[in-house]
Amino acid sequence: MTRNPTLIFVLVAAAVVVLAAGPLFLPPFYVRVGQLMLYSAGLGLAWAILGGLAGYVSFGHAAFIGVGAFTAGLVEGQLTGLPPLLLLPVGLLAGAGCCGILAALIAYPILRLRGTFFAIAMLGVSHVCAELTNNIDFFQGSMGLNFPPIAPSGMDPANFFYELYLAAALFILLISWLVRRSRFGAGLLSIREDEDTARMLGVPTERYKRLAFVLSAVLTGVMGVIYAHSLGYITTDSVYRDDTNLSLIVYSLLGGMGTLFGPVIGAFLLVFVTQVILGRLLDFHLFATGLVLVVLVLAAPGGVAGLLKKRKGTAA
């Protein structure tokens, strides 16, 4: 990654231009696939700030998608008078803010757990949020929430959300990049490698972990709010999804755990495989995802990035 920053920058800029122009030449089906890819990449990047950098593998980030989506929906429901294009920023602020507050509240107890226990406790958080949303009438989780259409008139909503996802994913990519090259990012890396030693070197591990957790939650919430708008109508089951909880890990594993572009590559690959290649075989969907996972763990524990590195290593 550090080899040639200019080249990387040019490549990313070119990719952005091509991606942004996508809806101009892509058939509708692929615009939808593209939406899903960008949505997944954004989520994967947000997850990786905690999971990839700090090594706290969360199995329950769908909690923040759900909390973000439902908060935005409930808040926007109160503000029906506002013009549609103002609703989205308000919803984003409320949804992401609520995720941040929730994360800050649970950070202290839950980050004391390490490894598997942290992963499963996060799964617990996601299930608890889902059940509360579903069973407390105020949240309307079982009935469902409607979102007002926000796409500007004259623009195809599918294209609008595609560009929105692209912007959000780029925003999260930018933040991830900034984090990685900062002192904060180096501190997170050292926490992943050896938390006790990091503390011994003066890394404020507790504060950094909490900060990474909250940041990751907020960015996940941003994606959740956009996702809810693009669906137009959400229930508990459509946002708190266990397959999302799992996929977020798989993106990083597939693309390369702890690398900047790993989650993006992983998300693009997995979405492409499940939607385009296996899209017609709905009955096999679970089976195929499971198979991908098994093969991945057995054959390429370092992900695509690991494979490339290994290839380079043997060639040199």
């Binding site: 499963i120 089976f287 057995l298």
Partner: protein, 291 residues
Amino acid sequence: MNLIAQTLADGLVLGGIYALAAVGFSLIFGVLHVINLSHGILVLMGAYLALIFSEALHIDPLLCIPPVMAVLFCVGYAYQRFLIQRAVDRASVNSMLLTFGVALMLQNAMIWVFSPDMKSITPSYAFTSLKLGPVNLDAVRLSALAASLILLSCLAALLRFSPLGRVIRATAQQTMAARLCGVNVRHVYALTFAVSAAFAGAAGIVIGIILPFSPMDEGAWTLNAFVVVVLGGVGSPAGALIGGLLLGLVSTLTAQYIGPAFPNVTMFLLLVLLLLVRPNGLLGNAFAPSR
């Protein structure tokens, strides 16, 4: 008063089943340090096998326990030896993901074979019931509880007194030392997995006679097992029993007095709380060096 007694009795029956369904998960966690996310699948395999056997042979489902355990023993051995072992030596997240992948595949396969519909096993004495003072216990629940307790005791005895149990405990406590003493660690891991799978299968049968089941339940059973282990402690049947009973009581009491939708919420709050105050469960890790 009657309601409380009845709720407690139901909680105990449910707790016994939770304990049995979790004990294999606990053993694998304690010995191999693997979180087996396909545990629920093994439980359901037991239930479906019992359904097939009891319908084909017209025998009591509880009589299916030995053959089902035998089948799952073999499945468990092969599963560990040929798949999980390859991921064990790497990071713990890898074995977790591997077993999750297998769980997804097998859940999908079960849906093709058995359909996603709820199934249940109905023994001949399904409608007999027993009145103990104010408490109503039907024969099915009573035999389920009895079967759970007997099987848990058998496993405890196996671990405590048999040569296999000794080797398993030795490997769990000091893997390297056991290897130096000539223990084939991979074989022991596979045997541990086999025993765990066999008990998961037995649990599936007991579950099958009192609750309806479908391939969709596998996640719930895996999660329950995890909660039971965290509550009770890793590696021992006694820990599983305590965790199971606690979970059973909490679930029925919450469902009765707070609301039928909230058992999971209470369960997870309890879980997170307990992880914070006693990270090793109420009984601690059975294989941790005692100090």
